[in-house]
């Protein structure tokens, strides 16, 4: 304990140097924690929105579909989705499972036509896997077969209201153009531009009729789970259940199971590449601060030549001497870390309390769902961990100087003068 005391006092023996070190360490810790929080907040928010609005957690598709997804291939479809759904009904933590039939169609109010992406769904199932049903701002979610629910951007462009009649034109599976009509049951507003401007929901039956498909046909089966800590495990369970039911292979087609990331590759790439760039920058920051501490501690050793000699002369052994300097570095790092942690916690509090309204920051056509007030996300353990990491790094930075102090010969150290 008396070592700790000496070390602590030594830290504050040269106030200017200590202050500068604390600024460097503290600021470093603040920057890293704050960046981590916001990046975490941004990706969590974007990923969660992606899952809630669009992809849910896990999907089952024909194995060849993903490669040709751009053309929304009707030929590569699930041919008996109810069997797939039934096979998965007993999965643990499953919240909901529902079919989707995806196709491109022209939607028209009779005057103007716009290209949209239509999802034929089982209304009750879709409401369990997806939050769009809860974001209806006008009218209701799908209640019958002859209805559509569309995004507010699309509704505004086509000047549509609840109850209005719309026409859908699409090419069926044989390349024949079909025209059907439906009425607007409801309008949703998610805040996600490309969603509100281009997505239309209709019943699976209506979609199948439009595309000249049978009742067992769907593009995918979408699954939502309660506990998603371990998505890989869920994917594996789905695979196992399909395997068990003998559904994986039938004729020349086979089924594949994907986690949601498969359908948001662009989003995940974009966010992760930025995170990587930022991490590289933060890594250099850490290097910089460590160099600073190394320098500072070697200076502390050097300017205390005589004192080191004295301590050795009165019987302190090399080990304890080294420990003293290590402890000093540790204290310095810990103090800086605590300062940084406090500052970061304050910033975190401000961030979490007020947030940054990200709505409307990105152009509407950018496929990154920033639809809420963004708030940084932290693990409470981030803060003490960062402070400890700072202390650890500072100790590491003191390692060489401390060793040097321990290795000095008393005779050389006492009374050196040039």
């Amino acid at each position: 304990m008396e070592m700790f005391n000496i070390a602590l006092r030594n830290v504050f023996r040269n106030p200017r140097r200590t202050a500068l070190n604390l600024v460097a360490i503290g600021l470093g810790v603040t920057i890293i924690l704050t960046m981590k929080g916001w990046v975490g907040g941004l990706s969590t928010s974007a990923y969660q929105t992606q899952i809630d609005l669009d992809t849910a957690h896990v999907q089952v598709l024909d194995s060849r579909y993903q490669e040709e997804a751009r053309r929304l291939p009707l030929d590569l479809r699930l041919r008996n989705w109810p069997a797939v759904k039934a096979a998965l009904a007993e999965l643990p933590d499953l919240v909901g499972a529902g079919p989707r039939l995806d196709f491109a169609a022209q939607i028209s109010n009779g005057e103007t036509a716009l290209t949209t992406s239509v999802r034929g769904v089982e209304p009750a199932d879709e409401a369990k896997t997806n939050t769009v049903a809860q974001q209806i701002t006008l009218g209701t979610w799908l209640t019958g077969d002859n209805q559509v629910v569309l995004g507010s951007g699309l509704a505004r462009k086509l000047n549509l209201n609840v109850g209005d009649q719309v026409f859908l034109t699409a090419l069926d599976q044989y390349g024949v153009r079909n025209l059907v009509d439906a009425s607007v049951a409801g309008i949703f507003t998610t805040g996600y531009g490309i969603f509100d401007d281009a997505v239309v929901y209709t019943s699976l039956k209506k979609a199948q009729d439009t595309l000249d498909l049978g009742p067992g046909d769907a593009t995918r089966l979408v699954l939502r789970f309660r506990n998603t800590d371990n998505l890989d495990r869920d994917v594996a369970r789905v695979k196992a259940a399909l395997e068990k039911a003998g559904l994986v292979r039938s004729g020349d087609s086979s089924l594949s199971v994907y986690p949601w990331r498969e359908f948001a590759k662009g989003l995940v790439d974009t966010i992760e590449s930025r995170v990587a760039l930022m991490m590289a920058g933060l890594g250099l920051l850490v290097v910089l601060v460590t160099i600073g501490i190394l320098n500072s501690m070697s200076m502390a050793v050097q300017e205390r030549f005589q004192e080191i000699g004295t301590l050795r002369a009165i019987g302190m052994n090399r080990r304890r001497l080294s420990q003293m300097f290590l402890l000093e570095g540790f204290c310095l790092g810990l103090a800086g870390g605590l300062i940084g942690m406090t500052a970061a916690a304050l910033l975190a509090w401000v961030g979490v309390t007020y947030g940054v309204d990200a709505r409307g920051f990105l152009p509407r056509e950018v496929p990154v769902p920033l639809v809420t007030v963004l708030r940084p996300t932290y693990w409470i353990t981030d803060f003490p961990l960062a402070a400890l990491a700072a202390a650890g790094l500072a100790t590491l930075g003191s390692l060489l100087p401390a060793r040097r102090a321990g290795q000095m010969v008393i005779r050389d150290v006492l009374g050196t003068h040039v």
Partner: protein, 408 residues
């Protein structure tokens, strides 16, 4: 003499100098790379959007606020005559272009078989167009539009449709009278433009073909203009607006046309300023500390020099010289590491994720090094070290000779 003494001191205290040197160098490396990336981003905007979209664009006025701006209602009638009236010394290239939505369908002889199809945006252009340069440059098989015939597709779309060079593809459209129409066209060129967004959403035909497909003789979607000097865009746009007044047209310069993208570029610029400030503070405190140490370590020596007649001013000059030397050399080292890194990245590129494309950038950006950035960072690194030594020299020269001498 000061310079010599400074240099000798730097060499004598090699470790301590190495720290200052290293800290300056790391800071300069980071600034150089960050600067290169930002410059690369801005450059992508100018180098990839402009050749595609032009500096000034003339469109039908009502299209801007229309529910479906791509509706065939919003074409410019008599586009070629209009083009002929545009004489201005500032204009380098002006072309009419007809953009239209279409469905590309795999041609199948047997109508019972499922036909693959994909909805794309058609670009009707002159076969020798100066725009769409990434498509022209990215042709991997065949040629762009030989003799104005045929259609150019990306390799990815061709694969989706199961078609290939020399074969044909059906182009389905709805014409201006809302009637379905189609043509079966030979595939004359396949391309990889380098942009996923462009590849997956665009095909190219001659404008003549496009006009036939949508039944729009002598009409175009827009007139795109490239300028000799991009800076003249707003002025030219204003002049053209006056000239074309009353014809139901709208003239936009690129700064207004891409305001959203430019906002993001500006945002990145601001972000870069923040990065700079952070690094300057952290690097600054590390460097200041190191320089303070080198100075304090020699307090007695400075006392001696003062005692034998060195003036305060001279002492400060000496400390500053040392700081400037270290800062300058450290910055040079930082540049020596940073510039090659940026140059390597400028060849290899940096993948920013495909969502970036929708903001107007390409997903792979190529950081750029500019001499101005290099000089700025050099000055920057030197200035940090100078500021630190200025502080150290202030602290030192404030002490009396006696205090300096009795410093242990």
């Amino acid at each position: 003499m000061f310079a010599k003494l400074a240099l000798l001191n730097i060499l004598k205290h090699a470790k301590r100098s190495a720290v200052v040197f290293g800290a300056v160098a790391v800071a300069v490396v980071v600034l150089t790379i960050a600067g290169g990336v930002i410059r690369g981003l801005s450059d992508t905007v100018l180098a990839s959007i402009i050749p595609t979209a032009g500096h000034v664009v003339i469109t039908e006025a009502a299209a801007q606020d229309a529910a479906n701006p791509l509706d065939l209602k919003y074409l410019i009638p008599g586009a070629e005559e209009l083009l002929a009236t545009l004489h201005d010394e500032r204009i380098a290239v002006a072309e009419t272009i007809l953009t239209f939505p279409a469905l590309l369908v795999e041609p199948v002889p047997d109508s019972k078989k499922e036909a693959r199809n994909v909805g794309l945006m058609g670009q009707g252009v002159r076969p020798d167009t100066r725009f769409l340069s990434s498509v022209r440059a990215g042709i991997t098989a065949g040629s762009f539009l030989p003799g104005g015939q045929g259609v150019a597709l990306s390799n990815r779309v061709a694969k989706l449709l199961g078609v290939s060079l020399g074969g044909t593809v059906m182009v389905l459209t709805t014409d201006r009278g809302n009637n379905p129409w189609y043509q079966e066209l030979p595939i004359t060129g396949l391309f990889n433009s380098g942009s996923e967004q462009l590849d997956l959403n665009t095909f190219v035909v001659s404008q003549e073909t496009a006009r036939e497909l949508v039944d729009a003789a002598d009409m175009s979607r827009e007139i795109r203009i490239l300028l000799r000097d991009p800076e003249t865009a707003p002025a030219l746009a204003a002049d053209l607006s006056r000239q074309l007044e009353g014809q139901g047209l709208r003239v936009l310069d690129w700064q207004r046309n891409f305001a959203a993208v430019l906002t993001i570029v500006k945002f990145l610029d601001i972000l870069f300023v923040f990065i700079r400030v952070f690094f300057v503070i952290v690097a600054g405190s590390v460097i200041t500390n190191s320089i303070l140490m080198t100075v304090f370590e020699r307090t007695r020596e400075y006392g001696t020099l003062r005692a034998i007649g060195l003036k305060k001013r001279q002492l400060r000059a000496m400390i500053l010289t040392e700081g400037a030397l270290l800062g300058g050399l450290g910055s040079l080292a930082g540049l020596a590491v940073g510039i090659p890194l940026v140059l390597v990245m400028s060849v290899v590129g940096l993948d920013l994720g495909s969502a970036t494309e929708y903001v107007g950038f390409s997903s792979r950006i190529y950081p750029l090094f500019s001499a101005i950035d290099g000089v700025t960072n050099l000055v920057f690194g030197t200035l940090i070290a100078l500021a630190a030594s200025w502080y150290a020299s202030r602290v030192s020269s404030r002490l009396s000779v006696n205090q300096l001498l009795s410093h242990t």
